[in-house]
């Protein structure tokens, strides 16, 4: 049968009924009919009633092997519908029967009405393209396909001025999943200063993207305190443990504040005087708020917050720069330079000549 033929015969029911009776039932076809059947019923239908109704479940209930094969098939089909997100309701068909019955509530099944303006639809279309993670990219595009089926028109050519590239660590999926259903998780965590990963037990409140890095925030069951963990430091799989709904995250919690408190804006109130050789240390010149030509180079005024940190930068510039003040900066630079010299002297003393 093909559609060209079918369309010519569209008003003739005969060939179509024949096709219905003769084609071998595919699994997909059986499942489509199962969904339509369960959507159309208000009563709960038992497995036996479904078998007697939906094409593809024909079997002899009196034959134990045949009946068992049907039950396995029906279990597989239910699992597949659930995996797809079809809300299968279970109830008893009537007061005299303990046999479970099934139906699909239309209200639970259907995507609610959604009307997107063209610029909104364009934004959703762009958002769906952002994921670089294969699993989330697939979820975004199947979600978008549902919106289109609901009548939303998405311009595939639409672009925004700036497109974020969204990458996530492997732990993202399991952690957001656990946070959503409020299950505790266990994972191995390796901070770089530790040699071995440490097992952590966490009630995950949510996942946060802060300055391009992902963190999970929650209640640490061992430390009995709020903790943040960087997703890139999680080693191996995240395991959800215990029941769903095991905890309640604090209401109105700003998750980002837990991560951001360690890296707030820094005030650069210090003023250093640094002499720079002509044409050198371009990076330092960009930070300077003032530059005056002097006898042995340009004299820069450089704002800073931490003496040791600025000293480390100046040490990297070597003889291209000289710290003139304040005295504690000058001392810090000299101290660090001496440490570098001593370190490399030790290195050459211990190195085996080749």
């Amino acid at each position: 049968m093909n559609l060209a033929h079918a369309s010519a015969e569209i008003t003739h029911r005969g060939p179509r009924l024949l096709a219905f009776l003769l084609v071998s039932r595919t699994r997909t076809e059986r499942l489509v009919n199962l969904v339509i059947c369960l959507l159309s019923t208000r009563r709960f239908l038992t497995a036996a009633q479904i078998a007697a109704t939906v094409p593809g479940y024909e079997h002899d209930p009196e034959d134990p092997r045949d009946h068992e094969a049907f039950q396995r098939k029906f279990e597989r089909d239910k699992a597949e519908l659930r995996e797809l997100g079809v809300p299968l309701e279970i109830g008893t068909p009537n007061a005299f029967d303990n046999e479970p019955g099934y139906r699909i509530a239309r209200r639970e099944y259907a995507l609610p009405d959604i009307l997107l303006e063209p610029d909104e639809a364009a934004a959703v279309g762009i958002a769906a393209r952002l994921w670089q993670h294969a699993g989330l990219a697939a979820a975004a595009s199947s979600g978008l396909a549902k919106l289109r089926a609901a009548g939303v028109e998405v311009d595939p050519q639409a672009t925004l001025g700036v497109e974020p590239v969204v990458t996530v660590d492997p732990a993202f999926g399991p952690l957001t999943g656990a946070a959503r259903v409020r299950r505790a998780v266990t994972f191995a965590y390796r901070a770089p200063e530790n040699d071995e990963p440490v097992t952590r037990r966490l009630e995950p409140w949510g996942v946060v993207c802060w300055q391009g890095r992902w963190y999970v925030v929650g209640h640490d069951r061992d430390r009995r305190a709020t903790r943040c963990f960087r997703l890139s430091r999680i080693v191996g799989n995240v395991k959800a443990t215990g029941r769903a709904g095991a905890f309640t995250p604090p209401a109105g919690e700003d998750l980002i504040s837990h991560v951001a408190r360690w890296s707030g804006p820094v005030a650069h109130n210090g003023r250093a005087t640094v002499t720079v050789r002509p044409g050198r240390a371009a990076g330092l010149r960009r930070w300077a708020i003032d530059s005056v030509a002097g006898a042995d180079g340009d004299v820069l005024t450089v704002p800073y917050s931490d003496v040791e940190r600025l000293a480390a930068t100046l040490v990297g510039y070597g003889p291209d720069v000289r710290a003139d003040g304040p005295p504690e900066l000058r001392e810090a630079v000299i101290q660090q330079l001496k440490e570098v010299v001593a370190r490399y002297d030790r290195l050459s003393a211990t190195a085996v000549p080749t």
Binding site: A127, A140, A149, C209, W210, G212
Partner: protein, 321 residues
């Protein structure tokens, strides 16, 4: 063995079921749509779409009589659903679908310089409402707030002109002037980048927006040549290549963080220290970074970098005598 060959791949079958349940409402919303357009819109081949329609054509309500089956009318190459058997709406979003769309929209809304932030936020509210209970995706996003410069660059790129840049190249510690043909503006790992064809380097370059110290729009249009191809940034912006110099360091415990901030080739524990190798674009950059990075980082190779650090440190120290 035998069951594996008889049972169709479960994923493929679930994918097809999802596609079929979506197909009826898609066509219902677009009566008389050309089959080719529907196939393009659904991202399937025309052949696949026709096979899907053939399958739906024998599905329907119990009874499965003429008035129960899904029905459609064909007019040339156009198709109209005339009876939907009750699958007139798409299936609701799964948790993963809601999460993927909501988080991507939050990411877009947080991205500085997108001209249509208002539309993004309206879309987000509607998607969250359609997702119902799933809307509270447990994910929060905040990107850096330096919107001003990114905004200015984006505006210039949208107007389609070539740009004259004053750009600081950290690898060589120099500020240079160059003319570029902009290709796109993007955010990677929380940083803004301008990808453009650099006429000076005659190659595609990724310019960090916070290092563009000044720019002017030229009168001529941006015209990247055919060989200007956008870079794949899904694994970051810096892709070390084997021709770059390989630097080996000994790193003490308190400086191990550098392996999280810079792409490293290899980390090998040796006693309490780590032996770390990394590729660098420029030995001068490596010298500036690694001399001052911390009291427990020592470069052990290549020898010319070690010599350079020693010589420059000694000369620097002489200035203070």
């Amino acid at each position: 063995m035998t069951s594996a060959s008889r049972v169709p791949h479960p994923r493929a079958s679930a994918d097809r079921l999802g596609r079929l349940l979506n197909l009826v409402p898609y066509l219902l919303a677009r009566p008389g749509i050309p089959i080719a357009d529907a196939a393009a819109g659904l991202d399937v081949t025309e052949k696949q779409l026709r096979e899907d329609l053939e399958l739906l054509w024998v599905c329907g309500l119990p009874g499965y009589g003429p008035g129960d089956l899904i029905d459609m009318a064909f007019d040339g190459d156009r198709v109209t659903i005339t009876y939907d058997a009750g699958i007139d709406r798409p299936l609701r979003l799964t948790p993963d679908e809601a999460l993927a769309l909501v988080v991507a929209l939050r990411m877009l809304a947080e991205t500085p310089g997108t001209g249509t932030r208002d539309a993004i936020e309206r879309a987000l509210a509607k998607i969250e409402s359609a997702a119902g209970d799933l809307a509270g995706a447990p994910v929060a996003v905040r990107l850096p707030a330096d919107t001003e410069r990114l905004d200015a660059i984006r505006g210039a790129v949208e107007r389609g002109h070539a740009l004259h840049l004053t750009y600081y190249t950290a690898a060589r510690d120099e500020t240079t002037e160059r003319v570029v043909d902009p290709m796109r503006v993007l955010m990677v790992g929380g940083r803004g980048y301008l990808e453009a064809w650099c006429r000076r380097a005659e190659a595609t370059r990724m310019f960090r927006v916070d290092r563009i110290d000044a720019f002017t729009e030229l009168d001529e249009p941006a015209a990247p040549p055919a060989q200007a191809v956008p870079q794949d940034v899904s694994h970051g912006v810096f892709h070390p290549t084997p021709d770059l110099p390989l630097v080996t360091l000994r790193v003490g415990r308190s400086s191990r963080w550098i392996t999280e901030y810079y792409p490293v080739e290899q980390v090998r524990p040796d006693g309490d220290e780590w032996v770390v190798s990394m590729r660098v674009t420029d030995l001068g950059w490596a010298q500036r970074l690694l001399t001052g990075v911390g009291p427990d980082v020592t470069v052990v190779a290549p020898p010319e970098l070690v010599d350079r650090i020693r010589a420059r440190t000694n000369t620097a120290l002489d200035q203070y005598n």
